[in-house]
Amino acid sequence: MYVAVKGGERAIDAAHAWLAEERRGDRGIAALSVAQIRTQLTLAVNRVMAEGSLYDPDLAALAIKQARGDLIEAVFLIRAYRTTLPRFGASIPVDTARMAVIRRVSATFKDLPGGQILGPTFDYTHRLLDFALMAEGDAPLPQKEAPTTGDAPSAHIPHVMEFLNRDDLIETEAPIDATPPDLTREPMELPAARALRLQALARGDEGFVLSMAYSTQRGYGRTHAFVGELRIGMVAVQMHIPELGFAIDIGEVELTECETVNQFKGSKTVPPQFTRGYGLIFGQSERKAISMSLCDRALRWRELGEDNIGAPAQDEEFVLMHADNVQATGFLEHIKLPHYVDFQSELELIRRLRSEAIAAREAAE
């Protein structure tokens, strides 16, 4: 039960003033601009957009600044802001085959048509701290521009999965056009459709989704996943506008897409073939996209006729109900707020039980 408390207004004001001062930090050091955060802490901005479920790099950068770099607090700010905006509608589903890719790799096909493109990746770095970045001013750019001999990626880069599809070696995705459920508008109901699971995973906490995915790799609901294809790039967002009578581009968003190929021995209903897991995330976030694919695949046990071995990652309620870091932090952190009346009743209960126990022992002696 919640009981209102009052008082402390001046203390709260003073705490907020101090918070603002702490956020600004040492005034001898230049303040961070939102543009600096947006353009130099891009991956933090991407994470806040993905989990805040709102693509707007400026707002995400502002939220990071305001939250003093606490990304979950920043996600919370973005979610709160989002609720103040009217929803104009839904886009046409994005066509990731038409992505302007800056990165595209496959762990299963070395000679994939269109080529492997490493892009701006941390892979193959040595994870050694670069003290040059600590020096004042800009780090020097590489001496020479990298040679640009290769062919530029074409506008349409087919998914690798299409090549496996041709031989029926992998399940096909039926291109149906149902209106997907939206967990931001209707309370989640279980069992959830795959569309709802994908939405929950896409906006879920990266750490949680990563850990769930890792648990499947370690044996808790193993799905034998390979990254069939991972791609990052800009994709046009199109929307049908009723007053125009046709669809237009309203802008473009950067997305990371991951498709896993999973071994599948077949079940009572499905012949042996590869199965698929899918991840799609706002911004550059391949860790999250791969994690999402593994979780998606693990949660598909029912529709593929697999056994539920009781692994956490197969448990739809466990995964979907605990993936959201704003919900989680809200409930978790509320226990630090005043609960004086609740605790008073607990205290009285313990005192009574103790006195009864002591009285019973004395009576027995």
Partner: protein, 148 residues
């Protein structure tokens, strides 16, 4: 669904205006003609949908901020602006240009506004694509054991 050539043409310029950087658009087309507001510029969101497996059933990925505006020129043409982000000036300018591109100023505006925007975009994309192409890699598998 196939659009008429006029609709395809108009969709192309609306998209070009939406993807433009707001500052660049303002520089290319600084002075706005008089107009009547039909729907004041407002900030909202559009739910971006993806497809399971890239090609399967749609799902809701997350929202994107969008600003939209509808207006009418004194000569009667109606313009619509739907632009990503929260820039009301961008949406208004895009809507005005959408309306003007339906008038006899069309060819002048195509040259003065749309062509530079398209050139910017092509250059930007080519730069990104060239950088990407430079990171293209050929992986080799090394033969082990006695295989020939």
């Amino acid at each position: 669904m196939t659009n008429s050539p006029e609709a395809t043409d108009r969709a192309a310029w609306i998209g070009q205006l939406a993807r433009a950087k707001p500052d660049r658009l303002r520089a290319l087309f600084p002075t706005l003609p008089p107009y009547e507001v039909l729907r004041p510029a407002e900030i909202g969101t559009v739910m971006v949908q993806g497809r399971a497996g890239g090609t399967g059933a749609p799902f809701n990925l997350g929202e994107v901020t969008v600003t939209r505006c509808a207006l009418r020129l004194t000569t009667g043409e109606v313009g619509h602006g739907h632009v990503q982000g929260r820039d009301k000036d961008h949406a208004t300018r895009a809507a005005i240009l959408d309306a003007l591109l339906q008038t006899d100023q069309s060819s002048a505006l195509r040259a003065a506004v749309l062509a530079p925007l398209a050139a910017d975009e092509t250059a930007h994309r080519a730069g990104r694509a060239a950088k990407a192409a430079a990171t293209k890699v050929e992986f080799f598998t090394l033969v082990r054991g006695e295989d020939k």
